[in-house]
Symmetry: C2
Subunit: 327 residues, 2 copies
């Protein structure tokens, strides 16, 4: 029985048919020597090095298909991987994608997922160069990103020095606010709810930070305090965050925080998945960055206004319910 | 309640604790500038290009934990990705791994999975440079491999020319035989059963083929006829396979084929997952390759002894039960 093109399933279209559909008529990228369709892609790496990172998103854990459209899921998967590359001071150039889904998944949803990936990647001139499409009881999206350092040294987590300024670019707490709003069934504050579904990392700022001499950098995927702790421990330094410097961030969230009944500072300090960038600078900050603290002597730990932070610190996989994770 | 180190679960060890365990004390690799532990790894790419490919393995679909040990699964995931790089005429240098598993998974199983990946990668001098560890209702292993072309042109599927010889290196039908033996509960012929769990691609032969002037190449992941069809269609040529040339391959499988009650040729022509390499050569074959047919004029199709092959051709995801797929 043949159904219309618009409501065919993955099983009806088939693996190779589906791959043909989602790779057809995509824009060419100057960074790609061999695109999808062979045993491997070949990507230019004029720098002589390539940065590489991977993230896996599991339905019910990292996204919910009753909250997110497939297009949102595609954008999120690309955005959060690109943010890891930004956090090295590099620029994302190419992605490969593993996608698992049930055989009865509408092919149109797979089209939308791929379109979301391409549209997010197009924001910084990157391409999807390959992938794997398999049967799975639930959706799994595994994205690997390649990045270009353009001759610069990678900005690691381990280089922060006492006396440097800690600065951030991008939003803090938007995703956590959005998650709480979705969870509470509050349909106002659409910007936060949308940011929970599709983070918007500050593309280009990783490179700007590297060019400005950033000593250490990370993207805020687990939460500001949790991610700064990674930097503090890797660098063997203390990082002291000023809540006064985060007032403006808190004010942006105030209405939503009151609607949900929480302290906005909890979202700013503990909320992950916005993929803001936070870095240590020994000198002047690049445009678009705001100072939120400074580096002090070790041991490796994070202080808030000079004291240990005892609130919610951030996400870990395999966490227990109530830790802010989905499902 | 604290249980012994040996029977702790992923939830008890935690994401970061587990990542620490599986990345500790691994061998250094000359190809890696920045290893695991930062936002991204950095891999050397002196060639100025990098080959990249990805595969996703889903429990119950691509492996069964009642047949395979976690160590087997790790080796298989790395081997099949490395084979894709071999099929470009390149050498695998580095891997990143996404792994999803239930929170109650024994941490020792994750250790074994990682050990399997490292031991397989060590066979060709590559390293695991990064990954992501997440909660998932069942095991999902997503591996991305980077490869080095060392200045050579990539060997694509599209370059086969009429008159060239088709040759293969590596085993044909071992994995299919093993699958049938497992499925039938026959515990003899352990070599085939083990090859189904852990394929052994002919590492180094991809590069040897490229250096010998291979015009087109692919690894046998879906089945010999199915994969040659990809080459035939991409190249716009016919490929004529000789069953007489495959006699030796069939003889190796004869005992197992009789035990299961099938024609060994079905496994040789249709069985995938051995990750043998098959290529078109205009001139002499490199050492270790055996001729199995030749390239004829188009249209793009595969012939067996000059006639269309009507038997089982190979694997596709989302296939129906009975197509040789698991689950």
């Amino acid at each position: 029985m043949d159904s219309g093109e618009s409501d065919r399933t993955l099983a009806e279209v088939g693996e190779f048919g589906m791959i043909g559909r989602i790779t057809r008529a995509r824009p060419e990228s100057a960074g790609v020597a061999v695109g999808p369709g062979d045993d491997a892609a070949v990507v230019w790496a004029a720098d002589g090095r390539v940065a590489v990172s991977t993230d896996m998103l599991v339905e019910g854990r990292h996204f919910r298909l009753d909250w997110s459209t497939p297009h949102d899921v595609g954008r999120k998967a690309v955005a959060q991987n690109a943010a890891d590359i930004e956090a090295m001071g590099a620029t994302a150039t190419a992605f490969v994608v593993g996608f698992g889904a049930p055989a009865d998944t509408p092919a149109a949803q797979v089209d939308a997922l791929a379109d979301g990936m391409w549209s997010e990647a197009a924001r910084f001139g990157a391409a999807i160069v390959g992938g794997d499409l398999v049967a799975s009881p639930h959706w799994v999206v595994s994205v690997t990103v390649l990045g270009d350092l353009a001759g610069r040294a990678p900005v690691l987590r381990s280089g922060a020095q006492p006396g440097s300024r800690i600065a951030v670019t991008g939003q803090l707490g938007y995703s956590a606010a959005g998650y709480a709003l979705w969870h509470s069934g509050i349909d106002r504050f659409s910007e936060f709810r949308q940011r929970h579904l599709v983070p918007q990392p500050p593309y280009g700022q990783g490179r700007a930070a590297a060019e400005a001499g950033a000593q250490a950098m990370i993207d805020v995927s687990d939460g500001l305090v949790a991610d700064l702790r990674h930097v503090a421990e890797a660098s063997g330094v203390g990082i002291d965050v000023s809540t006064e410097a985060l007032d403006a961030d808190c004010r942006l969230l105030l209405g939503a925080a009151q609607a949900v009944g929480v302290d906005a500072l909890t979202w700013v300090l503990g909320g992950g998945e916005d993929h803001a960038l936070v870095a240590a600078f020994p000198g002047p900050l690049p445009a678009g960055w705001r100072e939120i603290g400074h580096v002090v002597d070790g041991p490796g730990r994070v202080l808030v206004d000079g004291a240990e932070w005892r609130g919610y610190a951030g996400w870990q996989s395999f966490g227990t319910p109530g830790d802010g994770s989905l499902g």
